[in-house]
Symmetry: C2
Subunit: 108 residues, 2 copies
Amino acid sequence: MNNVLAQLPEDTSMEHFSDIIKSENVRIERIVSYGQSSPEHGWYNQEEHEWVMVLSGYGIIEFESGEVMRLESGDFLNIQAGRKHRVVTTSADEATIWLAVFYRQKDY
Amino acid sequence: MNNVLAQLPEDTSMEHFSDIIKSENVRIERIVSYGQSSPEHGWYNQEEHEWVMVLSGYGIIEFESGEVMRLESGDFLNIQAGRKHRVVTTSADEATIWLAVFYRQKDY
């Protein structure tokens, strides 16, 4: 893969996660969603910070605090490590393509 | 800024660099180009690896080795630290928006 918008997976029954860069301190991932909410149960609770952007479609993210954010094309968000969150839904009409950069602080 | 495609700078006489995330091991930057080549003289020769993607417009990157690559929307490229490169040109008709992730290896 050398274009994040191309070669979309055909199976729309699940989300698809692809590592683009995997280094010691940073991981860049493409996520393709087809209307899914995730995780199926509970919250994402990550050891790394996550900077995430929507490239196409849209996604709605909920935080444990109750805050809800809708991200559309070009919108981005920085999620601190340990901040519990989940994807409530994504576009049902088209693929939602996310770009996520997971990173650690030096003293982490 | 919370949308990489919005709030484009008005001054088209120069390139515009904006840090989105600046952490010890990773820096995420938006670059908006209006037809510029860069750097003005010589090559970029960076201490960090750079993963770069074009979000709109296009850019042509040349490497010291002679290799030339044209990046359009969604195309990305990983440029190893120390690999000399430059931007030959970008779209003259519209803003070229780049997303760049600069990162270091742990043992760097």
